[in-house]
Amino acid sequence: MLRFAVDDLYKGVTAEKLGRYAMMLFGIAIAAGLFKYAMRQFIIAISRRLEYELRNELFEHLQTLDAPWFQSHRTGETMSIATNDLSAVRMMLGPGVMYTVNTIIVSAVSIGFMVSISPRLTFYSLLPLPLVSLSVWWFGDRIHKRFEGVQARFARLSAHVQENLAGMRVVRAFTSERRQAERFAEHNRDYLEQNLDLIRTSGVFQPSLAFFSGLGALLVVWVGGREAVKGHITIGQFVAFTVYLGMLNWPMVALGWVINIFQRGLASYGRIHAILVTPPSIASPGTPAAAAKRDSAQIEFRHLTFTYPGAAEPALHDVSFTVPAGRTVALVGRTGSGKSTVLSLLPRVFDPPPGTVFLDGVDVREWDLDALRARIAPAPQETFLFSATVAENIAYGAHDAAPTAIEAAAKMANLDGDVRGFPDGYETRVGERGITLSGGQRQRAAIARAVLREAPVLLLDDCLSAVDTQTEEAILQGLRGEMRRRTCLLVSHRVSAVREADEILVFDRGRIAERGKHDELLALDGRYAALHRAQQLEEEIEAS
């Protein structure tokens, strides 16, 4: 259009004709604007939807991964993959793709027009193109490598900060702050150096692209100018040609940017992909054993020897016992003697060796994982509360529970009174932006949660260690009925809590040291009897 306008100007033209050219220019801009609007709405929207899908997929996959995986991957690292890396991938799929498409279209159109004006000039202007692709190839690879280096340094820097913060008290007690700051400065310097290295490379890349595309323009001005002088092309053609060539300038700059984004996006996708292809090591078997629909459950541990992943020594040695349906077996022993490990193996938080742990006569490894866990109501020693209301937290494992059922469970756990004292009762929010519950309140919330979950197996893992004796007694009284209805594994330090169990196992360094009913163990006059005497005296002292 410009070409005709300029050519006509050269020849002499009427005012109306000029007006028509202007209108046409405007019309073309409107059409191009609409096209760009559609393209952005289309491509960027797709990238947002893909981001949404990928984030869902990542989250859902993370939910299938097992405790050992979470122990060996720091939460912060996983978080940064789900945020930073995901956004790098999104940048690649959105703006990256959009500008690529843009570049291709603008280049194709411009080159098309250029060819229609003058194939020769087009040839000259595209002469530096091999240099462009050469530099893309050469720099792209180097930028990728340096970018990976930057990320590795960044991870090291983060790890140092993380350890420093986690060990803050030791750092202060040993007056290590200055040395810690020095070490940090070293990591910081490394990171800086690597970044400067990246900049040195990418700093050449962008201007070199502009330079090479500028060379094309130079050839056009020079050689094309001569052609125009000789009259091989009109002056209008020459002007229009330079305008189209000017349009090529931007795609060249964008090219460098696009390549940067793609290098980053690909590196980040690699990190996300690594998680997505990690199969959960604890999962349902291909063909789960048919689970009997029963209200009661029987538990059996058969010659169980268990070693934690990565540990040298087994945590449990040759543990065998049976809990018949509706009975309660109690586990006592020192911290670290293996009681909690026993409880964590039943719902496969960690995986027991095949043929050692059975629920209803079926190896837990043969169960469908969801069906297995649906039959178990755990109350752990350390309760995890989510930032939600008290009611939602209690109903965490029984989502459609009625408010009356939630209150009944809270009463049984002796939590009801506390909750009524909260600002909004059961609707009080807990967690990050809510109130903080005390250790005892958290444990009682865990008990209420377990009671509310209608499951035939109840696991009580020393879940009363932070409440005082009277409260413990009250809770146990309330729980007795529940415990008789279900099959129960109970871990405790207190004789008063376990004395009515059908069988008591005394653990010592991963082995069952003593076993029997309360009276039998007293008669044995061993560890259990000593513990009993100690606690009797303790009560005396407390009374004094």
């Binding site: 709405q41 960027i44 859902e60 750092v171 201007p207 649906a374 100690a534």
Partner: protein, 616 residues
């Protein structure tokens, strides 16, 4: 959002920008140079349309091949200059940006070393990490792709206007006639986008909070079969985030093409009006062509500036969080980085070793009026071994925390060698105190580095000797690599007893005047305990010792015992005296004797527990 809020937010942003600019101050010459280079670069960019104009007007129209050659040569020189300046500009500006980031990280890290212990009680480690790493990186993005481009864009705009004014003022007025339209479009966009960005940010924060919480509590989620429900909830929040982004995208999708349409209006006007000028008045065709090129370039910086707006918004949010952390008051007992480290305590062999510690009617609460220590008074004489006994929550560990100045008592006074704690340089004080905790924290890295705690005054021989004295060298020899062997994060590959022996060794290597053992032997088995006892004995020799213990067997050879109950001093005296009193202590002793190992736990519970928010 009301006008008022908008103004307030803007004033606040200005304040943040000023504080950020302060970090640029040390690099003002580089920044000035970068600005100068940017200026040159913009000038060179403006050369190209002008050269094209010259080529047409001087070369082609006058059929002057020599002029054309000259212009081509100039063009090449300009290209080379653009290349050199572009490279220089990116090196200087990004170099400055990276160094500013480094400085900010250093400041933040030092700040973290100065925050009071109570701050760490409230703030999750993850959140603090985000400040030093991710938030600084967001600023990085602003500095690298925002600020310098901003300078360039503004200069370019000015340069283009000057060049256009030089060519033809009348045509410039034509181009400017669309400015009100641009202003309208840009302002509308800014206000809308500001709002929607805030929405995107809050949705993203919710998304990440949900993710973080569920990653942390994943075992609970899985055991209670919440995966499907959580996936649903996550999808819902994720969808909100996506929709907010889609709205932001719609604004962008409308704005940028709209800007181009406006630019096309300007261009059409130039063609129409300028064309008439060429026909009727004296302006040259070359001028018109150059003007068209300038007009095209005129709108690019405006579009760029708007594009940077999102980055600036995020940077403001991040710097707000960074400065909030930097504004947190430091602990009075914090290390003073701006002062040299205090001289290590003198070790003249003849002088009397140890520190004298007095607790004088000390009251302390972590929160409000929940007193953890009530009117506690006792004295630890120089060279004496004093034991603190009592249940978890009776306040024993708190005493150690106060002595190390992790916290400050509300009432009463603590004196060390007659000097009130507040009068001590905390670093100097802590250098003279050795602390051994039940839960040993080891750092990832070589065994030797852990024993030295990076202390440059200690050499390998000294730490190896210390390890030998507490019988730690036998198992260190079993670690692959020995003293150069790498420990995993938190010493994950070692048993509790082994970690404890290493902590004895690192404390002994520093040869403190006062030793605090906080439940140091409660988590080890009989075999290691025997080993440890020997090490302990060696550790306590020739210095003041404060032993905090559940297990009474570990305190048999102390000089005096303080019995704490519910934060109060119940009894005080030697073992024999306390036994003769037949009070709490004698009952405890009886209990332990009866219960043996199991009894130790019973003692812990012998006093109704008081739960403290933090135990050392």
């Amino acid at each position: 959002m009301s006008e008022h809020e908008e103004d307030g937010a803007r004033a606040y942003d200005h304040q943040l920008v000023r504080r950020l600019a302060a970090y640029l101050a040390p690099y003002r010459w580089q920044v000035a140079l970068a600005v100068f280079v940017t200026l040159l670069q913009a000038a060179v960019q403006l050369m190209f349309p002008w050269l094209t104009k010259e080529a047409i007007d001087l070369g082609i129209r006058h059929k002057d091949l020599y002029a054309l050659d000259r212009i081509a040569l100039l063009y090449l020189a300009s290209l080379l200059a653009a290349f050199g300046l572009g490279y220089a500009q990116s090196q200087i500006m990004q170099g400055v940006a990276q160094r500013v980031m480094r400085d900010l990280r250093t400041t933040l890290f030092r700040k973290l070393q100065e925050l009071p212990a109570s701050y760490y009680d409230r703030t999750p480690v993850g959140r603090l990490m985000t400040r030093v790493t991710n938030d600084v990186d967001v600023l990085n993005e602003m500095f690298t792709s925002g600020v310098d481009a901003l300078f360039g864009d503004i200069f370019m705009l000015i340069g283009i206007i000057v060049a256009m004014a030089n060519l033809n003022v009348e045509l410039l007025a034509v181009t400017f006639s669309v400015l009100p339209l641009i202003f309208l479009v840009t302002m509308t966009f800014r206000i809308r986008v500001r709002k929607v960005f805030r929405d995107v940010r809050s949705k993203l924060a919710r998304l990440n909070a949900f993710l973080n919480e569920n990653l942390t509590g994943m075992t609970t989620v899985q055991l209670l079969g919440r995966e499907d429900r959580n996936a649903g909830e996550f999808r819902a929040i994720n969808a909100e985030h996506r929709d907010a982004n889609l709205l932001a995208n719609t604004y962008h999708a409308v704005f940028f093409p709209l800007l181009e349409v406006v630019s096309a209006i300007a261009l059409s006007l130039i063609v129409w009006y300028g064309g008439r000028q060429v026909m009727w008045t004296g302006i040259t065709l070359g001028t018109l062509v150059a003007f068209i090129q300038y007009t095209q370039r005129f709108f690019r910086p405006i579009s760029d500036l708007s594009e940077k707006y999102g980055i600036l918004q995020q940077a403001m949010a991040s710097s707000e969080r960074i400065f909030e952390l930097l504004d947190t008051p430091a602990d009075p007992a914090a290390v003073r980085f701006d002062e040299p480290a205090p001289a290590p305590p003198a070790r003249d062999g003849g002088a009397e070793r140890g520190l004298r510690v007095e607790f004088d009617h000390v009251w302390f609460a972590y929160v409000g009026e929940h007193w953890v220590l009530k009117d506690v008074s006792f004295t630890l004489e120089r060279g004496e071994k004093l034991a603190l006994v009592g249940a978890t929550g009776s306040g024993k560990s708190t005493i150690a925390s106060l002595l190390l100045r992790f916290y400050t008592p509300q009432r009463g006074e603590i004196r060390v060698d007659g000097r009130p704690l507040a009068g001590w340089n905390a670093e100097e004080l802590r250098q003279r105190i050795g602390l051994v905790l039940q839960d040993v924290f080891l750092f990832s890295g070589p065994v030797e580095a852990n024993l030295r705690m990076d202390d440059p005054r200690l050499n390998r021989e000294q730490v190896v000797a210390a390890a030998r004295e507490v019988h730690a060298d036998e198992f260190v020899a079993r670690i692959p690599g020995g003293y150069d062997g790498e420990l995993r994060e938190r010493g994950a590959s070692l048993s509790a007893g082994e970690k404890q022996l290493l902590s004895f060794a690192r404390t002994l290597a520093r040869d403190p005047d006062l030793l605090i053992l906080d439940e140091a032997t409660s988590s080890v088995d009989t075999h290691t305990e025997q080993l440890i006892q020997a090490g302990l004995h060696r550790l306590m020799k020739d210095r003041s010792s404060l032993v905090i213990a559940h297990r009474l067997s570990t305190i048999q050879d102390v000089d005096r015992i303080v019995v704490l109950h519910h934060g109060e001093v119940r009894d005080m005296g030697t073992h024999a005296e306390l036994m003769a009193l037949s009070g709490l202590y004698s009952r405890l002793w009886q209990l332990q004797y009866l219960g043996g190992r199991q009894g130790a736990r019973a003692v812990a519970r012998a006093f109704a527990p008081v739960v403290t928010p933090t135990d050392l």
